[in-house]
Amino acid sequence: MILLFEQLLNGLQYGVTLFLLAAGLTLIFGIMGVINLAHGALYMVGAFAASWVAIQTGNFWAGLLAGLVMAGLMGLLVEMGVIRRLYDRDHLDQVLATFALILIFNQSTVLIFGRQPLFTTLPEIFAGSVEIVPGLPYPTYRLFVIGVGLAVAVGLYLLINKTRIGMLVRAGATNRQMVRALGVNIRGLYTAVFALGALLAGLAGVMASPIVSVQVGMGDEIILATFVVVVIGGVGSVKGAFVAGILLGLFDTMLRAFLPATLQQVMPGPEAQALGVGLSSMGIYLMMALVLLVRPRGLFAARG
């Protein structure tokens, strides 16, 4: 029971990380119609910048700031240098150009930081754990991550539903051409949305950096899961990204935690272990296939 509760919290923490990544990606998708495979690279940039600065200065908060600034700057650079030329291209060109960006980002990171993973230590206030329910001490830092994720969700909700920029974003996700025709400075909006997405990806990277191993290729692993979240949630829908992110985070964590052990009851140990791990990795993709078969546009498609 306590194990289940702990895994639920882990799932929630993974879920908000996915949400932070997916929120930016789904907006970029929905508003500009660009498939950005390199979104995971911005996550990596955030994680590396934060870890490196944190190790150099010994200050987690300086790292946090550095991660956000670097990811945001890289996002601006990528938008102005590459993505801006892709708005009117077909999906194929977008996939390839951003695939090339992944190669460039990954290799540049290897050149700068090498292949060894970076390890950071947590600031003192997060070092301990909190006993949420009796008998379950849970690391404070992971709770902090969940809190930040939920706070961002609320912030994004307010931004998108209550402000003028949010109105443009919603309009853009519903009908891009119409917004352009109405004389909105679409280029400025595009750049702003892309930078916001990069910032959120960077934040996800910073938050994950003390928990996962910060190494080259970390973005490639999570970007596929993020795409699954975006597609299940419905392209362009931040609400969808939130629901699908949390859902998949929980689903994936539960499978990984309990499937191998369940299989071990019916199969010999090592094979059950391998099969369980493999099947758990397949889980989210299976879920996406199922959702798309029932609702080809995802759960909360912005475009009718």
Partner: protein, 324 residues
Amino acid sequence: MTRENLWLLVVFVALALVPFAAELTGQTSWTRLVGQALIYGMAAASLNFILGYGGMVSFGHAAFFGIGGYVVGILYHHFDAGTSFLGVIPGTDQMLITLPAAILVAGLAAALVGALSLRTGGVQFIMITLAFAQMFFFLFISLKTYGGEDGIMVRRTNSLPGLNMKDKATLYWVVLVFAAAYYLFLRRLVQSSFGQIIAGIRQNERRMAAMGISTYRYKLVAFILSGMGAGLAGALMVNFLRFTSPDMMHWTRSGELMVMVILGGVGTLAGPFIGAGALFTLETTLARYTEHWMLPVGILLLVVVLTSRGGLMALIRKLTGGRA
């Protein structure tokens, strides 16, 4: 003989001479490199049929490539161990059985993936094909019997009656013949009425539907044919390298196949082969000088996508005045 056929013959003869040239100059790795490039060319060409001619951006094509390879690997594994697959199908090392089996199984997998994926379109299609490829990838990783993450070593290349397949040059020529046959098959396919309908669907699916054509069925058949081609290429690759692993169907491999198609020229017959040759040569050459070869490849790819349309084939057309 038309000018195009003459060109093909020249290229074929030149490629057939590669093992001799390698022998003469002492660069024995050439045979291996060109052979691999030819096989990648086949896989890219199979993808190009649905991507370039049919307008279906499949991001999971490496799955069929890998499945074709695994059929050869698994059949060899059982042949070697003297067991049988699922206790029913005995293993074999006869290429006349393994290749058709690989094509068949890859086709079945493509039928399953295509039937479900083609219900969506656009971004969703790209992502769902990627999702299916990931499922196959993790499935093969989890199969401990077949090596899990390490894959299967195929210690001896499949045998073909009357040929000494242990000889590197013989194996290369077998690959070359398959590649040439596949090229001619694709040319016939593209020019057929079926190919014309596929191209029509790319240009305007709604109009084709209005003409009374069941577009879903045509797209599905094209998808299956394409998957079968990739399966054949994968089966040849495992014979050529004597090794199969889940790495063959990693999603970056699907990306690489797309890169080859774009680099060479989308929707052209020779493009994917040229693209595969160019990318493969570039990678192996750069890898000799630096371990960071991915950086220049990435930059080059970015420049190609952003600045040119039509890839290397467009360049060749321009240089030869539109004749090739």
